[in-house]
């Protein structure tokens, strides 16, 4: 009974995660995009905690705590600060055709469920079906990176990709060894700092954070 309940909670959180990625895909405002990213982190931390609780893998508590600290508090705070300093807080991005990207997104979800089907059969109880969702959110985040033209939203897409990977690790494998998780978290943190430095350098050089200015390098 208990197992069933946690299973349902984890499945609910997983579908919530997928829904959030879809919402990010369609979100035009940079500020709301960052808030969605923080929400995604919260769902991720909660699901990691529940998986840890139900499987008795206590090191997942550390992992959940790390996610909470890094993905829900520190990184969104950093991003908020950055967009305030860069004065792009209320920027609205013109997205190319939201319905089309939604449709591509759905196709990607079907594709990843198919791809993950043989693997899911190997997974035991709790994690069955979650690998498909994790792969789908990885691919959706990739799609988001491709369709965005602003540097800040590309970075949020990159971080959402990282979140999806953490979800894959937590749900499919009950978390990577702690050394590896710490290493990954450190990399993500440093990457965000470097992205921040880049925002300022790009703005200084191009007077805009629109990366369509940066398509000059060609072979000839």
């Amino acid at each position: 009974m208990q197992m069933l309940l946690t299973l349902q909670i984890v499945n609910l959180l997983a579908s919530l995660l997928l829904l959030i990625v879809f919402a990010m895909l369609a979100q035009r405002r940079i500020l709301s995009l960052i808030n969605l990213f923080a929400l995604q982190g919260a769902v991720l931390a909660l699901s990691t905690f529940v998986v840890g609780y139900s499987t008795g893998q206590h090191h997942l508590y550390y992992s959940a705590g790390l996610t909470l600290l890094l993905k829900v508090m520190l990184l969104p705070w950093l991003l908020h600060r950055l967009i305030r300093q860069l004065d792009v807080k209320w920027d609205v991005e013109t997205l190319l055709n939201i319905p089309v990207s939604m449709l591509i997104g759905i196709a990607l979800v079907i594709f990843s469920f198919n791809l993950a089907a043989p693997i899911s059969q190997l997974a035991h109880g709790l994690t069955r079906g979650l690998i498909g969702i994790a792969l789908a959110s990885v691919l959706l985040s990739l799609l988001m990176m491709l369709t965005r033209r602003k540097a800040v939203s590309q970075v949020v897409a990159f971080l959402s990709l990282e979140n999806s990977l953490f979800f894959a690790a937590a749900s499919a494998t009950q978390g990577m060894p702690l050394v590896v998780e710490f290493g990954i978290a450190l990399d993500v943190l440093v990457a965000t700092f470097i992205f921040g430095i880049f925002f300022f350098q790009i703005r200084e050089t191009f007077d805009s954070l629109d990366i369509s200015h940066m398509e000059k390098l060609k072979d000839d």
């Binding site: 693997i119 190997l122 990885v138 690790a169 990457a191 990366i211 000059k216 000839d220």
Partner: protein, 485 residues
């Protein structure tokens, strides 16, 4: 014993990074950078001797693993990192004189240079597939600010592209790593050992093939972005052309090798598990495509560093192809070619760096008659070019010859593709470099000659290995090839 030797190897560049982060703006920072690189090289030599004597070693609760395969890369990495630091000392000072770099930028450069060496050495020596990922990502992070060091619009664009593409690529590799861990857990159980390569290697026959197949696709695409395999290569020419020349030299000569090592480690596991040649075939396909596309792109290049970046894609493709073929001879040839390419390509970038510095442009049409301006730069560039194009008696000829003859036996149909690509590459590069070196120039000879000792040391080594391979070195390569199968 092995613990402390490994610790010395890894801590020296880390300490160097910290020291230079504190003292990088001093006048003698360049000397300190070279000194730390020299110590790292000594530590690598000590470790190498030890592994040659005593065979594969495991250290730090199995977290690190050193066998003849990775120790040869450790030695190569430490050596090229040392010679590049020697080259960068005068080179970066001249850039500073020209007003292209400030002291603060140099400060960043020295500190990141050491940390970059550290991340590469960790990626090479670790036994943990997860830590390989962490170190590879860290290697991107340490170099991305170096690519944009000049802060020009072009360099910023190149760095952004490098960051985003390699970031995405490496994220896919992480998914592959997670899948591999997932498969391993079913055999090795929960806990830390399921990511350790030595353990995985022992049980590779029992790992679930469908999962590993998918994992390898992700790992190859992920780390393949870093190797610069076509069609994931678009960051590579930009980053090489726009970054400072010492950074181009280490990216091309070292980082690509390290990424390829990560792929090789996975390939051994996956093909061992599947009992087929699935991973090898994928590597051969990507490798062949890279060789063909890169050699066709060479003739369109106008920028000298860009052209040699495409040449790196071509050679990495060739090495990936040879590793993909598998078998003791092809693997031996691939490792030999890795060594030759690292030494030659970094030597070429050193010479190109000085040539560009003297003429003030990277556009080949405007660089003419280097041999009159400075005979050492001219000859260095010419000899380096001949070496990378596979002219005998240089070592590149030996390794390319081995790869092609092996391919002739195993996969006769690829031989024409390889030969035509190498021919096209020869025509394109030689045709463009010949006037750069021997053309007519109005520029006056320079009063002071550049310090190009590293160029000639590298080329001399390549020449020597082409003419005569010491038996212990051949034996060492054979051991490594046997390990990889």
């Amino acid at each position: 014993m092995i613990d402390s030797q490994l610790l010395a190897l890894l801590l020296t560049p880390l300490l160097g990074g910290v020291l230079l982060a504190l003292l990088g703006s001093r006048a003698w920072a360049a000397e300190l950078n070279s000194l730390m690189s020299f110590f790292t090289f000594i530590a690598a030599v000590v470790l190498t001797m030890r592994v040659i004597d005593a065979g594969p070693q495991i250290a730090f609760h199995e977290q690190f693993f050193i066998d003849p395969f990775n120790v040869f890369l450790v030695a190569l990495t430490a050596f090229v990192a040392f010679t590049t630091s020697l080259f960068s000392r005068p080179y970066m000072r001249i850039e500073q004189h020209h007003g292209k770099l400030s002291t603060a930028m140099l400060h960043l450069y020295y500190s990141m240079y050491q940390l970059f060496t550290f991340t590469m050495l960790v990626a090479l020596t670790t036994n943990n597939m997860g830590i390989i990922w962490v170190a590879m990502e860290a290697a991107t992070l340490t170099t991305v600010l170096l690519v944009s060091l000049y802060r020009t619009p072009a360099s910023l664009e190149a760095a952004w592209k490098y960051f985003i593409l390699c970031g995405v690529g490496i994220a896919l590799a992480l998914f592959g790593t997670i899948l591999m861990y997932f498969a391993a857990q079913h055999v090795l159980g929960e806990g830390g050992t399921a990511l350790l390569w030595t353990h995985l290697n022992q049980v590779k026959g029992q790992l679930e093939p469908t999962v590993l197949k998918l994992a390898f696709v992700f790992l190859l695409v992920g780390y393949g972005t870093k190797i610069g395999l076509v069609p994931l290569h678009s960051w590579l020419p930009d980053a090489h052309a726009e970054g400072p020349t010492p950074v181009s030299a280490v990216l091309s000569g070292l980082l690509l090798n390290v990424a390829l090592t990560a792929v090789m480690r996975s390939k051994v596991l996956v093909d061992g598990s599947l009992g087929t040649h699935f991973a090898g075939n994928l590597m051969m396909g990507f490798g062949l495509l890279s060789v063909a596309v890169a050699s066709l792109s060479l003739s369109r290049q106008k920028d000298i560093k860009r052209m040699f970046a495409y040449s790196s894609i071509e050679h990495m493709g060739l090495i990936t192809f040879a590793f993909g073929m598998g078998g003791p001879v092809a693997t031996f040839a691939a490792m030999l070619h890795m060594t030759m390419h690292s030494l030659t390509k970094s030597a070429i970038f050193f010479a190109v760096g000085h040539a560009v510095q003297k003429s003030g442009t990277q556009v080949m049409e405007n660089i003419r008659g280097m041999i009159q301006v400075s005979p050492t730069v001219g000859w260095g560039l010419m000899l380096g070019t001949l070496a990378i194009l596979g002219m005998p008696p240089f070592g590149v000829f030996a390794s390319e010859f081995l790869i092609i003859t092996t391919a002739m036996h195993a996969y006769p149909w690829v031989t024409p593709i390889l030969l035509i690509s190498l021919g096209i590459a020869f025509a394109a590069i030689f045709g463009k470099i010949q006037p750069v070196v021997f053309g007519e120039t109005t520029a006056k000879p320079l009063p002071h000659s550049p310090a190009l000792i590293p160029v000639f040391i590298h080329l001399l080594l390549v020449l020597m290995l082409g003419l005569y391979m010491p038996p212990y070195l051949a034996n060492w390569y054979h051991q490594a090839a046997a390990l990889l199968g």
